[in-house]
Symmetry: C2
Subunit: 475 residues, 2 copies
Amino acid sequence: MRPLTIESLNPALLKVEYAVRGELAIKAEQYRVKLLDKDPGLPFDRVISSNIGNPQQKGLDQPPITFVRQVAALMEWPALADIAPDAFPKDVIARAKELYAEIGSIGAYSHSQGVPYIRKNVAKFIEDRDGYLADPNHIFLTGGASVGVSLLINMLISSPTSGILIPIPQYPLYTATLAQHNGVPIPYYLDEAQGWGTSVEEIEVALDKAHQQNVVPKALVIINPGNPTGALLDEATQIKLVHLCEKYSLVLLADEVYQSNLHKPDQYPFTSFKKIVRKIDSHVPLVSFHSISKGVSGECGRRGGYFECVNISEPVIALMYKMVSVGLCPPLSGQIGVDSMVRPPNPGEESYELWKQETDTTHQALASRTHTMAERLNSLPGVSCVDSPGALYLYPQIILSQKAQEVARAAGKEPDAFYALALLDATGICVVPGSGFGQKKGEWHYRLTCLCPGVDEYVGKLENFHKSFVEKYGL
Amino acid sequence: MRPLTIESLNPALLKVEYAVRGELAIKAEQYRVKLLDKDPGLPFDRVISSNIGNPQQKGLDQPPITFVRQVAALMEWPALADIAPDAFPKDVIARAKELYAEIGSIGAYSHSQGVPYIRKNVAKFIEDRDGYLADPNHIFLTGGASVGVSLLINMLISSPTSGILIPIPQYPLYTATLAQHNGVPIPYYLDEAQGWGTSVEEIEVALDKAHQQNVVPKALVIINPGNPTGALLDEATQIKLVHLCEKYSLVLLADEVYQSNLHKPDQYPFTSFKKIVRKIDSHVPLVSFHSISKGVSGECGRRGGYFECVNISEPVIALMYKMVSVGLCPPLSGQIGVDSMVRPPNPGEESYELWKQETDTTHQALASRTHTMAERLNSLPGVSCVDSPGALYLYPQIILSQKAQEVARAAGKEPDAFYALALLDATGICVVPGSGFGQKKGEWHYRLTCLCPGVDEYVGKLENFHKSFVEKYGL
């Protein structure tokens, strides 16, 4: 009997890299376990997981929205509405009854594309947001946005020379999924000096390079608001990007999961690509992704989201349906979470005041923390940080001295990973090195979330560490 | 701008077929919508979805287990334990508090492999079942068993000549996922005359054929209890199958999701492959899949399950971890469902009596319905049906006359699909034709679930339809 070896497995999977839950996260988990010891012998008393946008995790404890959970609890055990009617606001009970009438038990598989009624509600949400019609039959509910992105990449990569344009820096789901499906990433660089702006010219440079290498570009990925950058596109740029997709016959994959995480909405509003495509009457095939994991909902663990297909033909929709049907259906708890996201309580309903207060508090806390953190990071020697107007992250650039780079290389690490590991060892703070997202050669960054409640203690630790690192290795 | 066409997409996906949610299911859904009309003009007043093992769906309405839902409701809204303490049994409140202490909010991403505490409980469940140690680090919680099967097939198919042995008839997840990942199905036939028995000799015939065609067999899929057959393996056969895997260096993929659906447990008990592998001290790499969608839990919509790796090396486990981490984590509601499945209430606890009564009722109803249906189907002209000792299905063979076959072919249908479509049109009962699962050339079957509560009305409709079909087309 030959043992099962790595070498005998699908080589595409060996190339997959996903830094957000990579070496740093694994080490952080080990520290977390060690801290349960009586005498862990570590210079910190807790691990702060700033590697991933996971607002409700232990230690961050962003409270869930009560309305969302009350509806979910009644869907779990509908008899509760009769057993303990006073425990719930009236609109919650009415909402749960309405959902139950449509869905039945959440222990049943739903339609593979998601409950038809919830898809109708999503369509209404999109129509209200954009002012253009949305078709429930072209909406797919998913177990988080990642599942949808993975399906689309799997569909679009038709040969090993198929490529997809991805921003650098990017959320590594894209490179990971491309590697899994034997596709070629075609990187285009965002402009840090312009607040991580997206430029059509940069994308055309990338397209030229791809053509020279006989790579066939199939799609353009845009993350708006950006991850890890938090940048927001303006409408003029969006229109140019749609025209670019028309010119090069690209499918537009719009990752819009942070659409409600806006810290300065007057100055940097969000406009969906759906609205732009309709407004300029474009025929560009567009798939737009949304999620309940982000926003102020932060319901990562439910695994809920959706994608909307625009200008996609019925045979392609039928193929998508077939593929999602093999996986049976998205989790019902995620689907119900999507319904609560697109249909929050209305003014005048019993739940409205609390919902408003909870969501406002979370929005404000995130915006103020992001700004404070950016300000304080910017005041550190060798650190510059775009004050991100959206999403959940900052992506500071750090200057690493020649000496630091040499010591890192000698330890077999990328310099930014070396910095991040030292930060984790010293403070218990887990961030993700820029090499996990991509950056220009010779530049170093890291991504950290702006979710940690005690901003003074948190940034204080970052500051102290950075200063001692600079002291040790110079600038 | 070229439109996005099917021809430009990944050709592997075009070959995927998944009959369980295919043509029949889509037509059934259309009938369901039509029945909402004032005057639908259909010869039936409801659609009965016997195409899929989905016990809690509308119309079947197998009640969920109260304990499972009470725990889940408290996890959704933990404050309920204080707001309405009298609404819950004490052991449920204690269980939810214990889980909350371990997990925190179910709105947070968990460890990518699943909550460590729940994996420990799964390991304990496996140890109690088999009498051999289980390692929580080698257990992966998943969003249903399908996700795990898909991951394993994606990993094992390392080139277009990689093949996997699958039983015929099979659950079409296997052929669908193999097509998606460009692998070759290596079919081996089950023996209907022996109650759908599995024979090592048949598998060796299939292996010979594969070798002749330069297909490299990587794994053997065993579904036990069988789907669609409901057959159970005896230990002697299981031992032979493990030796076969040793001889041919195959990974054993054991689909054991129906392990608790046993209708005649004294005569046909379930033994896990984990137990067999340990008992004979084999080094065969084994992956065993389980799910909360089946059993008497029937919690399909939560999307919960797990797989256990046995004799799999750490680097391969690390690769699995990396791959599941790209998808972030399985749904928490499914993970909690797994915990409730592996830790039901104990005798003496407040919830125990109700839990016992509910699970006994469902077990007995399923066993008695299965037996009655098999008996009545067997009394029909041209129908023979193995009285399945496990799972949720029957897979009757039907003789279709030359005339019926000709009419079917003229309509562009497989004869069994023609029969199933006629059944749906006449009765509203949706089954899946045998061609979706595989069968010997010239034989015809269909799969139907044994979940429908009103067995007299249900089988009555089947009988009437079959008789009129035979009258029309002869035997």
